[in-house]
């Protein structure tokens, strides 16, 4: 009671001074402890460091700590996280390796082209061209780029294999193998040791082989190529008595007439030819525009890009060329051009335009015959070129070099005879696959049974290695040393960029070990030393270098190439009687002509195990994962087949069953088949893909080595599913005919039209479209791309570059069949006109990075957004996978991960631990259920921006090159900043020929297409 009274009294007392707020009764009672405690903001202990062990046993915080820890433990314990072991930093860091920064090393590819290999933290991840290389000038073909996949191929042989009883291979050691083989070789006696190789392009390798021949006198080198210039060179020799057909100045030719020569595809050095050809396709220099006539049996890359195209079966082309020779007045025989035109119902008007052009452009017109055509055509073409002054277009600054001439037919026949008579002690397949490549009727495979020691040096199992006693794994070119001499004027070097991944050896080092006679003489730098010595002793002295050898050598390795002085080239003069008394044989038109061509993608079959190349759509037909018999609709009707029906081709008893594909623009009665498919042993990916048309080859030439006249072609039972990356549409359907043109997707004109009215393309343009949304102002860099359709040849190199840069998975044939290929960049191919005489338009298609992207506003979770520098971005982590963005994309460039494709394809072949080394660490590897698409190589933009910041300057458009741009052999792709008024891109973007795709959807794309100009005559033939 008393207390209460006191309280009240105190309160009333205080009231007079100021309002007294109290937080607790204790405060009210002025407890000194409380007074002390209230000075601190936090309760005692709250601000101490957090140690669960010090907490009282059942405190809330301890409970939460334990709960969190146990949840984390449970999550970690149940997750599939692979312990990759400790990450150990370098004790002594290699000088050149900076984590996160790529190193580039100059080297050489299998085909001799100069490359730069991008490595990250010691692993090669991408191949680009070496811009110093005189031939390929910074660009490389799809095959060279995709070779990186072969490096990380889990199907590579990992250890030396020896065949034991029961025919099974067992792993063994190099030492045992070397011992046994050296013994076998030494005991060869008078018998032959046959070394079978493909074309040798390395002087040092040639020296090794020479040395081997000295040590083992019985040894002989046989070399082959499935496709080569032998016919062309032989014809040249007959005409000019000099060894090699010259290189052509494609950039200076005004009129090019190609006779079944796919010089922009597989015939010759495609990269160089394309670059030079495209110089004559520059819309900024109309006077240099060239005109391409193509006369061919099947639609090729060259045919697609021609201004005039004449379909003609290969065997009839001699008659046509003779007719032309006579018509031009260089008469050699009695063939009448008009008769030829009538006989094959050729377009007379086109041919007369051709003749006109040739007459008017003497010295600037050239005929070029394909390498598969028979010698007689080459002779006629050489003769005609001489007459029309095309010799001025033969290059004298450089020529091809052949270190060891390819073995001819008689060499092979002798080898087979020796083998059959057991006069061959050992056969060494020196990185070659003769069982697959040599004509079956040569009987190599059977003859091999008579050879006691068969050795295959190879990276992956192949048809020849499975017949061998020893299969010895060799280094991939990226693990190997070497030098290359393919041209006069320079050497190039090959250096390893990664230590051998498996227990493999350099193929030359294997021979060196054998020729030393002592297995212990091998060491890892055996061939490196050998190569260096070879250069020091033989090449360095010929190059008048001011540097000492060591400096010279490191400089050479750095550059990848060494310029050398070679003898100037002289072509000599033609034997003008060469055509005398040559009368073309009458072509019998009742038989089908079988024309065998090299595959655009898998080469002669050595890239069959490469998923990237198998999945790369054929540049013309867009078929993936297969080869086929291409023929015209008329021919198909004659046989009674439709697409995907099987036919049997019989050439003098050599039979092949394969599916047909009706190729618009194919000549009638001509069946074209690409070789390189149907491999029986080509690893996980390449085995049994397509059909082995090598079986149609014969040791006895048909019309030529690669062209035969079929005994019969007939329909057989069954169908086969050919899979295309682009649907085929009927030509005769009114709705679909010329649809790409009608829709304004493909807009083209002629050079004449453009000269007359530079703005002809935009004549019919409609009013400007307005937007519902306010337009965003791009103040800084704004990225954009321009694609010059005059220069795009449709080769597909950019697709492989994109895939390599952006970690794009291989999905397999079954998924391509469903329309689920993952390529971020594709090349759309449209036919217009008639199915017989189609006009082809190519158009690379990738994300257009629209300013008003239809994909962006339909994504429910904002997983696709727009960046302030104009990129349409994809946030993988946020993506739920509704696919609405893809549906709403008018260009259909978005790609959805319907599966974890790496896991889905070939039982997880891409999930192999080795395979993951190939990935670009700057690009996320996307998994199942996520949408993806072209990013304009945002990782490269980010890198360039970082560099600009480091250097304290602003980012420029020219700092960034996209992967596709880097790879394009004709520089058809331009990338840069469209806000930079001076940039090349802006010039293209504002070009009169520039147009945007599907402008009517008001998506405002940032990819400009430069309309293709066809260099046809004003009145179209």
């Amino acid at each position: 009671m008393n207390n209460r009274k006191k309280e009240k009294a105190e309160l009333s007392e205080n009231n007079n001074l100021q309002p007294h707020y109290w937080r607790s009764l204790a405060e009210l009672h002025n407890d000194p402890n409380f007074k002390e405690a209230s000075r601190h903001e936090f309760l005692e202990g709250v601000t101490n460091d957090f140690h669960p062990s010090q907490l009282p046993s059942f405190s809330r915080r301890k409970f939460l700590a334990l709960l969190g820890a146990s949840a984390a433990l449970a999550a970690a314990g149940c997750s599939d996280y692979h312990d990759k072991g400790e990450i150990v930093p370098y004790t002594s860091k290699p000088e050149e390796i900076l984590p996160g920064k790529a190193n580039y090393y100059a080297s050489s590819a299998r085909d001799g082209s100069g490359i730069l290999i991008k490595t990250r933290e010691g692993r090669p991840i991408k191949v680009d061209g070496n811009s110093d290389h005189p031939v390929n000038r910074g660009k490389v073909s799809a095959q060279v780029q995709a070779d990186i996949l072969n490096l990380y191929d889990s199907s590579r042989i990992k250890n030396p294999l020896k065949r034991r009883a029961g025919n099974a291979f067992t792993e063994t050691s190099w030492k045992d193998v070397d011992n046994e083989i050296i013994k076998e070789l030494s005991n060869a006696g008078g018998k032959e040791i046959a070394i079978i190789t493909k074309r040798i392009i390395s002087p040092a390798t040639k020296k090794v082989l020479d040395g081997f021949a000295q040590k083992y006198p019985g040894s002989k080198v046989y070399s082959y190529e499935l496709f080569s210039n032998v016919i062309r060179n032989k014809a040249w020799q007959k005409c000019y008595s000099s060894s090699q057909y010259p290189l052509i100045k494609w950039d200076e030719a005004k009129i090019i007439i190609s006779l079944d020569a796919d010089f922009l595809g597989t015939d010759g050095d495609r990269i160089e030819n394309s670059r030079l050809f495209a110089i004559g396709r520059d819309v900024k220099n109309l006077n240099k525009f060239n005109r391409l006539y193509t006369i061919e049996g099947n639609m090729s890359i060259t045919g697609m890009n021609s201004d005039y195209r004449i379909r003609l079966r290969p065997d009839a082309q001699l008659e046509l060329i003779m007719g032309i020779i006579n018509e031009l007045g260089y008469g050699a025989n009695s063939v009448k051009l008009n008769d030829v035109i009538r006989k094959y119902s050729l377009p007379g008007k086109t041919i007369s335009l051709l003749l006109d052009d040739v007459r008017k452009n003497k010295g600037k017109a050239i005929f070029y015959a394909g390498r598969t055509l028979p010698e007689s055509i080459h002779i006629a073409v050489n003769y005609l070129n001489e007459k029309i002054g095309a010799v001025y277009l033969y290059r004298t600054d450089a020529a091809n070099v052949e270190l060891i001439p390819l073995s001819d037919d008689s060499d092979w026949q002798q080898l087979i005879d020796k083998m059959n008579n057991s006069r061959v002690a050992a056969t060494i397949h020196f990185d070659s696959n003769p069982v697959y490549h040599l004509p079956k009727d040569l009987g190599y495979e059977n003859a091999l049974l008579k050879v006691s020691t068969v050795i295959s040096l190879t990276e992956t199992e192949n048809e020849s290695s499975v017949k061998a006693n020893y299969t010895l794994p060799i280094n991939h070119p990226f693990e190997a040393w070497g030098d290359v001499k393919i041209r006069t004027g320079f050497y190039s070097l090959q250096q390893p960029v990664i230590a051998p991944i498996f227990n493999t050896r350099q193929k030359e080092a294997v021979l060196l070990t054998w020729l030393s006679g002592n297995p212990d003489s091998y060491n890892d730098s055996l061939y490196h030393q050998y190569l260096r010595n070879h250069w020091q002793n033989e090449i360095y002295p010929t190059i008048s270098s001011v540097l000492d050898f060591k400096q010279f050598w490191y400089g050479a390795l750095h550059d990848g190439i060494v310029l050398s002085k070679d003898k100037p080239i002289q072509h000599g003069s033609i034997n003008s009687d060469i055509l005398k008394s040559k009368q073309p044989e009458e072509t019998s038109t009742d038989r089908f002509i079988i024309s065998l061509r090299e595959s655009y993608n898998v080469g002669d079959g050595q890239f069959a195990g490469n998923g990237w190349l198998q999945e790369l759509p054929h540049p013309v037909s867009k078929i993936t994962w297969d080869n086929y018999a291409a023929l015209s609709a008329v021919s198909a009707e004659r046989i009674g087949v439709k697409n995907d029906d099987l036919i049997e081709i019989n050439i003098d008893g050599r039979k092949l069953e394969l599916p047909i594909f009706i190729q618009p623009g194919a000549a009638d009665d001509t069946i074209t088949i690409e070789l390189g498919f149907g491999r029986k042993s080509a690893g996980v990916v390449g085995t049994e893909v397509g059909f082995n048309a090598n079986v149609l080859l014969s040791k006895n030439d048909g019309i030529s080595k690669w062209i035969y006249s079929a005994s019969s072609v007939q329909k057989v039972k069954g169908r086969y599913n050919l899979v295309t990356a682009q649907e085929h549409h009927a030509f005769d359907n009114e709705l679909l005919k010329d649809i790409a043109q009608n829709r304004g997707i493909i807009r083209e004109g002629t050079v004449e039209q453009y000269k007359k009215n530079p703005r002809f393309l935009h004549e019919k343009e409609k009013h400007e479209l307005h937007s519902f949304y306010t337009t965003f102002e791009y103040t800084g860099v704004k990225w954009g791309m321009a694609i010059d359709l005059n220069k795009c040849l449709g080769c597909g190199d950019c697709i492989i570059a994109c895939g390599s840069e952006n970690n794009i998975p291989v999905v397999g044939k079954d998924q391509v069949a469903k329309g689920r290929e993952m390529h971020w960049l594709r090349i759309d191919r449209y036919y217009s006109g008639s199915p017989e005489e189609p006009v082809v338009s190519n158009q690379p298609m990738l994300c257009q990075h629209c300013d008003q992207a239809p994909c962006e506003n339909v994504c429910p979770v904002t997983a696709t957004t727009h960046s302030p520098d104009g990129l349409n971005q994809m946030v993988y982590n946020r993506c739920v996978g509704t696919r609405y963005c893809s549906n709403n994309c008018p260009y259909k460039v978005r790609r959805f991960n319907f599966f974890n494709f790496r896991d889905h394809f070939k039982s997880g072949y891409q999930e192999d631990s080795l395979f993951s080394l190939i990935y670009n660490p700057e690009v996320t590897v996307r998994s199942r259920g996520v949408m993806e698409k072209c990013t304009f190589c945002i990782q490269r933009i980010a890198e360039a921006r970082q560099e600009a910041i480091n250097e304290n300057r602003s980012l420029k458009g020219s700092d960034v090159k996209t992967a596709c741009q880097d790879a394009c052999p004709t520089n058809a792709i331009v990338f840069g900043d469209m806000n930079d008024k001076e940039s090349e891109l802006t010039k293209f973007r504002n070009h009169e020929l520039g147009y945007y795709l599907l402008e009517e959807t008001n998506s405002r794309p940032n990819v400009t297409y430069i309309a293709k100009l066809r260099n046809t005559h004003p009145e179209k033939a």
Partner: protein
């Protein structure tokens, strides 16, 4: 069978007394399930199991198990979604709109139709989640505050969908439950089983059939009916926006909202007719769900069918009138392209067959209406297929055109969704009164005081 439409026919036939009505409706709940029940649930359960297996495989491997591809990003998943949402439309229309319009005949079928709405929306609701590439991230579609500062995209119709369908489901469920309360109370009074009594007691929320109860009930019911009515129109309008808001020719069409709503009512009524034919027979409800009911529903089917037919015609007209070549191509391609078969199935089932209902004999013939109702359901499923797939498979760039072929998993999941729907329907018939006892009693003869006494 001469019917004078000038006189409104009695809603309940056979002069059933109020107690008889209650008896009749409650009977299935008070008897043990018979053989027929087990056969029925066996069939629907098998279908459901097939669906579950297919869904499990899809979840394990990915959407790649389905036929979807580039360019057809949406296939059966979205087709089924729109189909089931459509089925769900009859229920709310009958219970809410017809209630507001004082259509007494709705009482016999409202409960069942509402239940079907709920089940159909359950079926529908599964698909948007299942069809995504990463269904486990479905939560991203909801606007929840998070430290990443991530937010959903309110311009995407898929987000509108999430709200529209979930609202529709919630309101339908509440509406259905409110209507069930007096019946739960009646059942509570009837049952002798202790367990059932507890359950019914809980769900009847202490209903005492008092005047106050009824007063509140009527008011709540009316308000909910008013609330549900706009939803009937909005849900399918928003579903149609999934297509109409895009820029794809064949999707980007202003006619879609009314066209979709009409189609939804059309298919919903057809499904109600299909199922009620069996329920009425099996549970001897011929007097409560009479031929007059079917007559009226068939008229609705015919009317909405013609609206849908009008929309089909209008698409052709607008494609021509707009002068948009892409639009024109899509429409012609629909009718004459690779998917012409689907288009003509749709037109025949949705426009041609319902015309038979002009004839009164057919409107009142059980076999005829069963056949037509099933055909309408087939046709309406194909309508969604035609809209979704044929527009996508050939759009702007001919280079990216493709063809969609469903896989076994697509078909399995479609079968499974029917399995789920019918399993729920069958379970419903044995657990809850399929007809609203209280409402039917209210419209039975002699239930309401009348100045001319008794039955009208």
């Amino acid at each position: 069978m001469k019917i004078d439409y000038k006189i409104e026919p009695p809603v309940v036939e056979g002069r059933l007394s109020l107690s008889q009505i209650e008896e009749l409706v409650a009977k299935p709940l008070e008897t043990r399930p018979d053989k027929k029940f087990f056969i029925a649930i066996g069939i629907s359960g098998t279908a459901l199991l097939i669906g579950i297996i297919c869904v499990a495989i899809t979840l394990h491997y990915g959407i790649g198990m389905w036929g979807n591809n580039q360019p057809v990003g949406w296939g059966f998943g979205i087709v089924n979604f729109v189909f089931w949402v459509g089925i769900g439309h009859a229920g709310t229309l009958i219970s809410a709109i017809l209630f507001l319009l004082r259509q007494k005949w709705r009482t016999g079928i409202a409960r069942f139709a509402e239940a079907m709405t709920i089940f159909a929306v359950i079926c529908a609701g599964l698909f948007p989640i299942l069809h995504t590439g990463r269904p486990w991230l479905g939560g991203y579609l909801f606007p929840y505050p998070n430290q990443h500062g991530l937010w959903i995209n309110f311009t995407s119709p898929l987000i509108w969908d999430v709200f529209a369908v979930s609202t529709y489901f919630t309101v339908s469920l509440v509406f259905w439950y409110i209507g069930l309360i007096p019946d739960f109370a009646s059942l509570r009074e009837r049952t002798a089983s202790k367990v059932k009594k507890i359950i019914y007691s809980i769900f009847s929320l202490g209903w005492r059939h008092s005047n106050r109860n009824w007063l509140h009930y009527e008011k709540a019911y009316l308000l909910l009916a008013g609330f549900a009515t706009p939803l009937v129109l909005s849900v399918h309008t928003i579903v149609s926006f999934d297509f109409a808001v895009s820029i794809m020719p064949g999707w980007h069409t202003t006619i879609f909202p009314p066209y979709f709503v009409a189609g939804a009512i059309f298919s919903g009524f057809a499904m109600v007719v299909t199922v009620l034919i069996f329920v009425r027979k099996i549970f001897n409800l011929e007097h409560i769900i009479t031929l007059n009911h079917f007559d009226k529903m068939n008229k609705v089917i015919m009317a909405t069918g013609m609206m849908v037919g009008y929309a089909y015609a209008m698409e052709f007209f607008i494609a021509w009138y707009s002068g948009n070549p892409f639009e024109q191509f899509v429409i012609i391609n629909r009718a004459f392209g690779p998917y012409a078969w689907a288009y003509w199935i749709m037109v025949t089932c949705n426009v041609v067959f319902p015309q038979l209902f002009w004839i009164k004999k057919f409107r009142r013939s059980i076999p005829v209406m069963l056949a037509i109702a099933i055909l309408v359901n087939v046709g309406m499923w194909f309508e969604r297929f035609v809209i979704t797939v044929t527009s996508l498979h050939r759009d702007y760039l001919p280079s990216s055109w493709g063809y969609f072929t469903p896989t076994l998993y697509d078909i399995g999941i479609l079968v499974g969704s029917f399995g789920l729907f019918f399993t729920l329907v069958i379970l419903f018939t044995k657990t809850l009164p399929v007809v609203s006892i209280s409402e039917v009693k209210a419209v039975a003869g002699g239930a309401q005081p009348s100045h001319h006494g008794g039955n009208h």
